[in-house]
């Protein structure tokens, strides 16, 4: 009994939902049935949204737990940092809850969870710049990665380097000054060999996905359940 509840039921859920969602997409039959399918399909994705939302709340608790444990283990050295994280997390949630409350108590104010003024201030002045900064930090990393990656160790690396140089010169105005042919050559590389190179990878990724789907359907892929009993 317990094995049924612990292992089989979740797998049955997976099998049924995958088959249903394939059927909802591919089958039509007539307009009414198709309409019912797309309603059911929408409901399924809403289910996922609801579950993800709860998962995010569980995740929030996990973050609190992680930082509290860290403070307990590492003491004063870590405490200020962890407290900053916890403090901001709680503050954001409180502002969000205020926004939520206002959206019901005073709908005319036009304030919702994510448009609560203090919440927006934190978002715009803390989250947004940090987000943009981490994204653009990649420019440093791509520079140091190219310094190491384009070293000519073998013929293949030479090919790699030559391609990269053509694309680099084609992308910049200085390339046009050096030799006007870089731009058309770069366009050719991006449209012909580049497209061709990623095509088998795309096909392969698709095939891998289908086969993994098969393993899920036939209960051979169980890593997502964690513990093996």
């Amino acid at each position: 009994m317990s094995l049924v509840a612990r292992r089989y039921t979740p797998q049955i859920i997976v099998t049924i939902i995958i088959l249903l969602s394939i059927a909802f997409y591919y089958l039509y039959i007539n307009r009414d049935v198709a309409g019912a399918f797309s309603t059911a399909d929408k409901a399924l994705s809403d289910w996922a949204v609801i579950i993800t939302s709860f998962a995010l709340i569980v995740g929030g608790i996990d973050i609190l737990r992680f930082h509290l444990t860290k403070v307990r283990k590492e003491g004063l050295k870590q405490a200020p940092f962890s407290l900053v994280s916890i403090g901001l997390l709680v503050t954001m949630v409180i502002f969000a809850l205020i926004g939520w409350y206002i959206s019901y108590s005073n709908p005319a104010a036009g304030i919702a969870i994510t448009t609560q003024p203090q919440f927006r201030w934190l978002y715009l002045n803390l989250y947004a710049p940090a987000d943009a900064a981490v994204y653009s930090i990649l420019v440093f990393y791509i520079a140091s990665a190219s310094y190491r990656a384009f070293r000519v160790r073998n013929p293949m690396a030479l090919l790699l380097l030559v391609t990269a140089l053509i694309v680099v010169f084609g992308n910049t105005t200085i390339g046009g000054v050096v030799w006007p042919g870089f731009l058309p050559l770069r366009d050719w590389i991006m449209t012909v060999p580049n497209t061709a190179a990623f095509r088998p990878i795309t096909i392969g990724a698709g095939l891998g996905t289908v086969v993994l789907g098969l393993r899920l359907l036939t209960w051979r892929e169980t890593s997502w359940m964690g513990r093996r009993e």
Binding site: Q11, V14, T15, Y25, Y26, A43, L44, D46, W47, A48, I50, I51, T52, S53, L56, I57, V58, F81, S82, V84, S85, L88, L89, M92, V93, A112, I113, L122, Y123, L124, L126, A130, D131, A132, A133, S136, V139, Y141, I142, A143, S146, L159, L160, L161, T163, A164, V167, N171, M190, P193, N194, A196, A197, P200, I201, I203, G213, L216, W224, G226
Partner: protein, 242 residues
């Protein structure tokens, strides 16, 4: 008086500088910025979660309870499954969390299984069916390259069957074709990788320019102060390690 706008602008500039400082060395200001960022982001995602719960579940149930209970009553099931996710803290009932994970994994895999045969397989195959002859030599050559690299890449990925070369025997034609396509595939993919890598540099530099224009340039003083502070922290950190 210093308004919230000014504080906000200074905070923006400082956050950017502090986060950039990590590429030089880990330091106390990066650590602060990172923890601030993680805290805000975690709060933000919880807020987004509340927002979508509100949108899908709470708002329809409160605003028009009748339609909700007649048409969307089943939303209660994922809500229950969602609450069951908290059982992961229990030693005895931890497995109840799996039900919810099962639904999400299945929805995700189902989405993948419906789009993949079209987008990843059929469309790619039809795009590779191009004429290998014709009056335009440039176009024909391009088509040959396209087809050969695609077939080569597919050959490269074969996992379970491939012709083997027997010792001392002249290699068979199948073997030669296989090896040839294999090498065309791997070299072709390398060209693709090099091109994509180099092409990405441009968008990344473009993003750095945007960030500089938005956050650093308007607040040069704040960024300079933040930069000096970080530099001091890094140097202090190095000295202390010695």
């Amino acid at each position: 008086m210093i308004g919230w706008d000014v504080i906000g602008a200074w905070l923006c500039a400082a956050m950017v500088v502090w986060i950039y400082s990590f590429v030089y060395r880990d330091n106390v200001f990066y650590k602060i910025a990172e923890h601030m960022f993680v805290g805000t982001a975690a709060g933000y995602s919880i807020a987004l979660a509340l927002d979508s719960l509100n949108r899908v579940l709470v708002s329809p149930a409160v605003r028009s309870p009748h339609t909700f209970w007649s048409a969307s009553w089943h939303y209660v099931i994922p809500a229950i499954l969602g609450v069951l996710m908290f059982t992961k803290y229990s030693k005895k009932y931890y497995w109840l969390a799996r039900y919810a994970v099962a639904v999400n994994i299945a929805v995700g895999s189902g989405l993948a299984l419906r789009t993949v045969p079209i987008a990843n397989i059929v469309r790619q195959i039809t795009a590779t069916i191009v004429p290998l002859w014709g009056s335009d030599p440039v176009k024909t050559l391009n088509n040959w390259i396209l087809v050969l690299i695609t077939l080569g890449g597919l050959t490269y990925f074969i996992f379970t069957t491939f012709p083997k070369k027997a010792e001392g025997v002249k290699p068979s034609l199948t073997y030669l074709v296989y090896r040839g396509l294999y090498y065309i595939g791997i070299y072709g993919m390398m060209v693709g990788f090099g091109a994509l890598f180099a092409n990405t540099i441009m968008t990344r530099v473009g993003f750095l320019i945007s960030v500089y224009l938005i956050y650093i340039q308007p607040q040069a003083l704040a960024s300079a102060i933040a930069a000096v502070l970080t530099a001091a922290a890094i140097i202090l950190g190095i000295l202390r390690k010695r």
